[in-house]
């Protein structure tokens, strides 16, 4: 640990700070940096602000919830991806490898199909994600195999495909004028309709799951070694794997339930974080969280301002993520393998 984590953490912190400033100031109603500082300072100290009320509304009611949601979701997906890549000893794994996203997708489209309200749809998505991973874990554990991790991943892929078929069926049966567009829009991911009331059901699970992962950070180093080696080092791999999967699933499901499906963040950001500070989880997890939050902030700001209509987040993360990931693959010997 001679190599300091500070430069990497500094870069990640600077990234999210710039992301925050950009997200608050850029948009259809431009807010200057001076106004932002004045309004935030006034809010913190309790004195009245000099800025017009419209600026305050934009900052606290329009952009505020969306910015907080983007930071939480980006950080959550990045942390979950980091945890899963370590746990499955595979740098190509993303948080939805065990079916969390497909389960949430099925839950959400069912919620839309049954015309539930926003709360109903989000609850269905959240529970769908958790139920899918629980099912994958149970089936995977029933299959006795030499490599439990590989069986788990393969089970996740298979059940994810089945859930995808379920999503297809519900879309096929849905009302094509009202429900189908809503489903399509949800599956592409967006933070456009995020309000302050969405933040509590999002922040609770995300903070709880992330806290568990951070608490287990040293053990996660050992869990990224081959199964038998980790056990010989004194780790009870079975219970620990359940704890890590449960925590990562909690944060992923809560994120996907709020924003819809946003791919790539959980796959690409852990690589960036490893390139900055190395694979050691105690420093990797905070770096990944900062980078992930900043990344989704930039993406979401782009989604708001790049075109006259909102661009779905899932499309932007893919457009930016794909070339980036190819670039990563070209130089992958440096960060892993």
């Amino acid at each position: 640990m001679t190599r300091s984590a500070l430069p990497g953490l500094g870069i990640a912190t600077a990234f999210i700070v710039v992301g925050l400033i950009t997200a608050f100031t850029v948009g259809r109603y431009p807010v200057s940096l001076a106004e932002l500082i004045d309004v935030l300072g006034a809010h913190l100290s309790g004195r009245p602000s000099a800025a017009p009320p419209a600026v305050e509304n934009v900052i606290f009611l329009v952009r505020g919830p969306r910015v907080v949601a983007a930071v939480l979701i980006g950080a959550a997906l990045a942390v979950a991806g980091t945890a899963f890549q370590g746990l499955f000893r595979n740098p190509l794994v993303s948080p939805d490898i065990l079916g969390a996203s497909s389960g949430a997708a099925l839950g959400a489209v069912l919620g839309i199909f049954f015309s539930l309200g926003v709360v109903g749809i989000e609850s269905f998505a959240f529970l769908g994600g958790i139920a899918a991973v629980a099912a994958v874990y149970c089936v995977g554990s029933l299959l006795r195999a030499r490599d439990p991790v590989l069986v788990l991943v393969l089970t996740g892929v298979v059940i994810g495909a089945l859930l995808g078929a379920g999503v297809g069926l519900v879309k096929y049966l849905a009302d094509p004028y009202n429900q189908l567009p809503a489903m399509t829009f949800w599956l592409l991911g967006s933070l456009a309709s995020t309000t302050a009331s969405d933040l509590v059901p999002l922040a609770g699970p995300v903070l709880l799951g992330s806290a568990v992962l951070v608490a287990l950070r040293w053990r996660m180093n050992v869990m990224s070694l081959p199964e038998e080696e980790a056990r010989a080092l004194g780790v009870s791999t079975g219970p620990l794997r359940i704890a890590i999967v449960a925590a990562a699933t909690l944060v992923t499901s809560a994120s996907v339930a709020t924003s819809g499906i946003i791919g790539w963040v959980g796959l690409v950001v852990p690589h960036l974080a490893r390139a900055l500070v190395g694979p050691d989880f105690p420093r990797l997890l905070p770096t990944a969280a900062l980078l992930g939050g900043g990344y989704l902030l930039f993406i979401d700001t782009l989604a708001r301002v790049a075109a006259p209509v909102e661009i779905p987040l899932g499309i932007l993360t893919a457009v930016i993520g794909t070339p980036f990931f190819i670039w990563l693959l070209a130089g992958m010997q440096r960060t892993w393998s």
Partner: protein, 240 residues
């Protein structure tokens, strides 16, 4: 079904070599002794207490495992790898203490690889990796160290170096068990040898008594040649 009526004992301060052809059950025996798999019948004991009665951490404080040299998925630094040997000395959430860091750097110094500590483990040569894994085992502060083919994939010089380190570990009071495909390594580094074929013990005892041409021919089912140095009387075996 492998491993019928086997009895292996390992005492502290001695080196035991486990030999046998491919598929003879060496690895299964090794994993049973490490408590990684449960014996189908019978029991494995440390200090007269069954292995299954220990927690994973308590077991790891008694037996360390040195796997065959491999390339892990992520480029941990050498220091991180050796610090992982301290896992069993902390609780589920604890960060390495200063005592853990001291034990890790002492283990690195013991094998003369302190200079490697900030290097990524993935960038090391096979011989260096083997020393790092040995340092990790030592940092674990175990009574017994079990090694799976510690000389596989090493060059000639590093094979000798690892064998000398195994002797030194035993001299420091550790019980050392290793598997090998080279009877000469057993002859040179081990006190006793355990010959295994088709899950059964073929012979067991001091290396000089057990490692003989007829025994090795029976063990591997192949002809073996013996070379003797007329000056020192030392012997070596060649596959015939």
């Amino acid at each position: 079904m492998i491993g019928r009526e086997l009895e292996v004992t390992l005492s502290r301060g001695e080196v035991l070599a486990l030999l046998g052809p491919n598929g003879s059950g060496k690895t299964t025996l090794l994993k049973t002794l490490l408590g990684l798999i449960a014996p189908l019948e019978g029991f494995a004991l440390i200090d007269d207490k069954p292995l299954s009665a220990y927690t994973a951490a308590a077991r790891a404080r008694r037996i360390a495992y040195v796997p065959q040299v491999h390339v892990p998925t992520f480029a941990f630094t050498v220091e991180s790898i050796v610090l992982m040997g301290r896992t069993a000395h902390g609780n589920l959430f604890s960060a390495p203490s200063s005592a853990d860091r001291a034990a890790a750097s002492e283990a690195l110094a013991r094998f003369g690889i302190t200079a490697l500590s900030a290097r990524p483990y993935t960038m090391l040569s096979g011989g260096e990796r083997q020393l790092v894994l040995l340092a990790r085992a030592l940092a674990q502060e175990p009574q017994y160290i079990v090694l799976d083919e510690p000389t596989a994939n090493l060059d000639f010089g590093n094979q000798g170096k690892v064998m000398r380190e195994l002797r030194a570990l035993a001299a420091a009071g550790h019980g050392v068990l290793f598997t090998t495909h080279d009877p000469n390594h057993a002859l040179r580094a081990a006190d006793r040898a355990f010959l295994m074929r088709e899950g059964k013990c073929l012979a067991e005892g001091p290396v000089r008594d057990v490692l003989t041409r007829p025994q090795l021919e029976a063990l591997y089912g192949a002809p073996v040649e013996t070379l003797t140095d007329p000056a020192t009387g030392a012997t070596a075996f060649l596959p015939g």
